[in-house]
Structure formats: C-alpha cells, structure tokens
C-alpha cells in the first residue's frame, strides 16, 4: 500500500466508526427513550401494554392504599382522567396526596399501570416540570396553590 492508500484506509475506518456510532446513537434514541403522558393523553392515544412510558399527574386524594409490606397502589389524575398505578417499593419522601408525581413503567394486560419508579417533586416550590406544564395548560394548577 502506498502512503496515500494507507491514509485513505485510515480515514475510511474512522468514517465507518463514526457512522456506526451515529447509527447506534439514533437506534438507542428510538428504542431507549420513554415518552411522557398525562392520564388524559392516554385516552386520546392508547399505549400498548408492555411499552415503557412515563406517566405524570397529581396523586388523587384518598387514593393511596398501602398493601401488605411494601406494595402500594394509588391513582394519578390530571383532573380529567385517572389512572390506577401499582408500585412495589419505597415511595419518595415528598410523595403526598394532591402533589405532582412522575411514575415510570408500563401497563399490564389488565390495564393497571405497573410502575417501577416513582419520582415526587423535590422541594416546596418545585413541581416536576412536565407535570407543571401540562397541568397549567389544563388550567388545573396555579403557581401558588400547587406548590
């Protein structure tokens, strides 16, 4: 191989590598990201059981039921529709009735949302951003009384 050919080979190798990395990145973006839904979005465009999504809203008042041990069930609402969520694990410190939460998981065939992670707002003035935006659009939540 001449020097020129070698250089071409190196450049071609680098391009193949970069192409591979780009493909991988976009493949992963397509597969490994989860979309954010509010309960009423789900009635508009339903989600297949088993597909991972993030479900956000307010914890419905009076809906928290603690089962034996660490199981807990509650309902997430955006004041229009309500979705029942089951979760097995430790709830975050700031998990309370009528406060914003984001849960991540998938629907089981029976239509319950099985969450494997539950995030609550982080401090007194912070509402998960997606939840706050969506609730504001619906006019349910105002800066002051929601916080």
């Amino acid at each position: 191989m001449t020097r020129k050919q070698k250089r071409l080979a190196v450049i071609a190798g680098a391009l193949v590598f970069l192409g591979g990395a780009t493909t991988l990145t976009f493949y992963a973006l397509g597969q490994r990201t989860s979309y954010f839904y509010m309960p009423s979005d789900l009635s508009a465009k339903p989600v297949e059981p088993g597909q991972r999504i993030r479900l956000g809203g307010l914890v419905e008042k009076g809906s928290i039921q603690r089962g034996q041990g660490t199981e807990v069930a509650f309902a997430v609402t955006d004041q229009e529709k309500t979705i029942k969520v089951v979760y097995n694990g430790l709830l975050p410190d700031l998990f309370r009735e009528e406060q914003g939460v984001i849960t991540e998981g998938a629907f089981d065939p029976a239509g319950n949302f099985v969450a494997d992670s539950v995030l609550a707002k982080h401090d007194e003035t912070y509402m998960p951003k997606e939840v706050a935006d969506s609730l504001k659009e619906k006019g349910v939540w105002q800066e002051k009384d929601g916080g």
Binding site: L24, T25, S34, R66, Q68, G69, L90, L94, H122
Partner: protein
Amino acid sequence: MVEIGHFALVLAFALSLVQAALPFIGARTRQDRLMAVGGPVAITAFAMTALSFLALVAAYVQSDFSVLNVWENSHSAKPLLYKITGTWGNHEGSMLLWVLILTFFGALVAAFGRNLPPVLKADVIAVQGLIGAAFFLFVLSTSNPFVRLVLAPIEGSDLNPVLQDVGLAIHPPLLYLGYVGFSVCFSFAVAALIEGRIDAAWARWVRPWTLAAWIFLTGGIAMGSYWAYYELGWGGFWFWDPVENASFMPWLAGTALLHSAIVMERREALKIWTILLALLAFSLSLLGTFLVRSGVLTSVHAFATDPTRGVFILALLAFFVGGSLSLFAFRAQSLQPGGLFQPISREGALVLNNLFLTTATATVFVGTLYPLALEAVTGEKISVGAPFFNLTFGALMVPLMIAMPFGPLLAWKRGDLAAAGQRLFAAAGGALLAGLVALLFVDGVTAFAAVGFGLAAWLLIGAVTDLVLRAGIGSVAPSVALRRFAGLPRSVFGTALAHFGLGLTALGIVSVTALQAERIVAMKPGDTVDISGYVLTFDRMEPVRGPNYTEDRAYFALATEAGRDLGEVISSKRVYTARQMPTTEAGIATRGFSQVYVSLGDPAANGGTVVRVWHKPLVTLIWLGALVMMAGGTMSLADRRLRIGAPARRKVKAAAGVPAE
C-alpha cells in the same frame, strides 16, 4: 462589611476590563510594559473577588438578613458549617464562587507562568480577563448576591435541606475548580490562535493546567456521585441526570485533551485537533453552566429559574464558543502539519483514545440535549435515561478499555502490536481467569457481568504490567530494577495510576451492577432481615431533635450470619422545620470495600416501617478509583518536565513554578 464586598466585586469587574485590554494591546504592539500589567492586575482582581466572597460568607455566618441572598437561603438556627456552605448553595452565591475560581486561575497563571513566553502569557491573561469581565457583568447585572433589604427581616427562609450536607461543602467548589480550570486551556488555545504560533512547546505549557483542571473535575464528579448516593437515599451512584452529564462532558473532552496534548508535545502532530479540544473542553463547561444556571432543566440542582439569566448565559456561550471557533476556522489552515506516524503506534493508540472519548462525549451531548431540542421544536416530552446511555456510552467504553493497556506499550511513530500483545499475556490471562472465576464461583454472575469483571482485571493488571516492563522487573537484577523503577519519570507513574484507578472504578461499577442485593421489607422492632450473608435486626425507633430539624431515628444492629456483631446502623427520616420538608438519611455500614445501605420508607399497613436494604459489593471502589485517578494526575503534575521552559538564567526561580494542587 457587606457593602465593601459589593464594592470589591465592582472593582474586580473594572480590573478585569483592564486585564482584558492592556496586555492584549501590549502583546500586539510588543510593548513589555503593557504586557507586564496583566500579572499584577490579574492577582489584584483575584484579591478583590476573594474579599467580596469573604464578605458574603461573613454575612452568612452572622445571619445578616439585610442581604436578600442571605435571607432567602439561610436560617439563624442552621449549624455554622451549613451557614458557610449555604453561601454557594444558591444561584447568586455559586456564580460568585464561579468568578472567584476564574480569577483564581488568572492569578495562578500570573504567579506561576514565568516559564511562558511573555507574549503568550500576556494573551492568556487577557483572554482570562475577557471571560472574567463577561461573567462579572453577568453576576452584577442579573445575579448580584449583594442586593440589600432596607428593613431586614428577623429570620431567614432556610436552605434546601437536601443541600444541607457536607457534600455541598466540597462538591461545588471542586467541580467549579475543574469546570473553570479548563478556561485556562481555552485561553491558551485562543492565545495560540491569535499569534498563530502553535508548536510542541505550547502543548507542554498547557499540560499542567489541563492536568490540574482534570484532577479537580474528577474529584468534583466523584464527590457529587457519592453525595447523591448517600444523600438522596436511592442508593444509586450515577443517574445520567442532565446536570451530571453537564459535568461529565467537559471531563470526557478534558481527558481526550490530556491524551492528544501528549502527541502534540512529542511529535508536533494533532495540533489542530488538540487546539480544538482545548476550546471544546471549556465550551462544554460553559454549556454545563448554562444548563444548570438557566433553569432549562429541572432537577435537584436547578435552584435558579429566571429566563433573563438563561438568555444572558446563552449570549456569553454564543460569544465565547462562536468567537473562538471562528478564530479557529480562520487560523486552522495556516497551521503547518506535524510529524507523521503509522496507525499502529503510540500516536495511533492516542488517536483511537480520542476518537472514542470524543464520540462518547457526542453521545452524552445528544442524549442530554435531544429531549430539550425535541420539546422546543415539537412540544413532545421524552426522557432519555440510563438505558440510552448504557447502550451507547457502554458500547464505546468497552473497546476503549480493551485498547487501553496497549497504548503505553506501543513505541512512538511505528509500534509493534504483536509484541505489545505478547507483553500483555499476563494481563490477558488474569482477565480471563477473573472472568471465569466470577462466572463459575460467584452466584448470580451472568456471562455479561463476567466479561465486565474480566475487563476490569485487564485494566488493573495492564496498568501494573506497564510499570513492571519499564522497570525491567524480572528481566534485570532486582537491585537494577528497583533503581530503574525509582528513576522512572513521574508522568509514567501518573499514567499507570490513572489507568489503574479507572480499572478500580470499572470493577466497582461492574460488581455493584451485577451482584447488588436488595430487600424491601416492612419491619417492626425486633424483626430481622437477611441479606448477602448479613443479618440486620431492627432494634428501635426514637424521635430526635436536631438544630433545625426533627427526625425519627431507626437503630439497626448488623451482624454476620454466624452471629458476630458488626455494630449499629442508624437510618432516619428527617423533617426540616423551616420548610416542612422531609428527607431520608440513609444508614451505611462499610465492610471492606462493600457497603450495607439502609433506607427508611413510609409506615406500612401492618404498623411496621418499610425498610429498604441493599448490599452493595465493592461499591466504594467506584470512588476510590476516582481518588486513584486524581493521585495519578497529581503525580503527572509533579513531573519535572512541566516546569521547563523558562530561559536558563531564570531557571532557579522557575523551579517553584508548578501550580499549587
């Protein structure tokens, strides 16, 4: 006192303007006296900023609620330590810390840059001054911590309890030392582009600054990771949270820069690339500052949400990144090509390293910014989390780690891969053995995890192999080998240590990911739970009153299965009275390199308390590895080569010219 601090801040801004202008004019007209202004002005600007910062700290310590910032973020009942750390636990204070560190690095260049040619030094100081002036303007106009309240309230509104932790004392300052440290590399790159003189010597001059920033950033990231691990109560050490990514991107780019600068110094090759990386590392730091400070992200760290600030930082970002890249584009063609090399060579290995690291930076960049961009364009909200990063970033790291031990063993210019492979026989054997042992003798290890263990062993043994071969241990007489070992340049030790540290971190991550055990149980006093050979007994629950919180403290007794007592683990649920905010304080018992982690949950239906217990094998190696990497960096920084450059008659003075750690 408060107002003197405010005045000193304004004065520092004025000095930064002079620092940006005079040395620059001096360098263009080759006037030594104008260039000489840079040093004293940079040092004075630092002194003024330090005075200003101390005034703010004093206001916090004395609970001076006539300062708006203190009133918003402090409380008289807070322990002294958290009063002090509260100074930078908020937007305004942390930006003041940012400029303090920026001027600190400017002063360091002025004080220890005697080995630099005067024109280069003047340009570097001028660029530092320009960055400083821009950020002082930002602080003074949008984030002034010295805004006063004429009728001082009597009590403050307290600091976010999550931030009331020793972690906050160390994490942001270290992180900023790293972030902002890259500003020096940036200034060096811009200075080199202005003069158009970019040669091997430049790479050597910029190296200690890159190293220093890299060491601090490594420490800052590791500290942040450990802090999240024990303070947030989820037991996770890395969340791929946008804020973490914001600090991780400059680290990846900085690591790439460290490696490419070696090639530039030795062979005068990769000049354009190295300059570009130096610009990128700081640009990514600025991007991180923008992401965290503008409030476009919401997470634990997002304590600032004011659009005017966001737009201001975005403008700064555009100015510095855009300006430097235009200068780069303008100058890049005029650079002369450097030394040639074969693909299989030390240079080739370092290029490979750079290829992987920058691609990894790019994937993190995409994963962090794609959701923001998508939301801005379509309004759709997605979350890009751990699965994405594990797939892309992981896929890039595996080949990098496989290639890593080869690098130091290859010769410059033209290397012999087969020979290097032969020398790594021991490492390969060790890796294979480690993988097999893990697969066959440890419960719950999958084939995938076994590969991980093998890879970690490969890195660890590979790093040691490098040292063994260089010292000739085994091939020459022990006494000769010992002498050669002691005589090795410190940078060689630095490389080996840093690579070894990465191996430790990898081992910790693989081990925790593959072997961690978790139990979630509802417990009443007297109940026990078994986990990975330990028995945890819930002893009792007691209410305790802290200085500014009340807590329910749960006492657990930890013992081995055989019944040997290993002491007490205390975990608690805390409520901070001023904000009525609950937090979970995890109980952690360290056994060797492993930890038992106990976190309290809510009351369970049967009257007990939900308790979450983890056994995290070798988890501390994740952060110990980072410490070893820092030690490696420090070792390299102490290498005598980095002090060279001052003309001979100044050599004695210049010998002291290493930046302080």
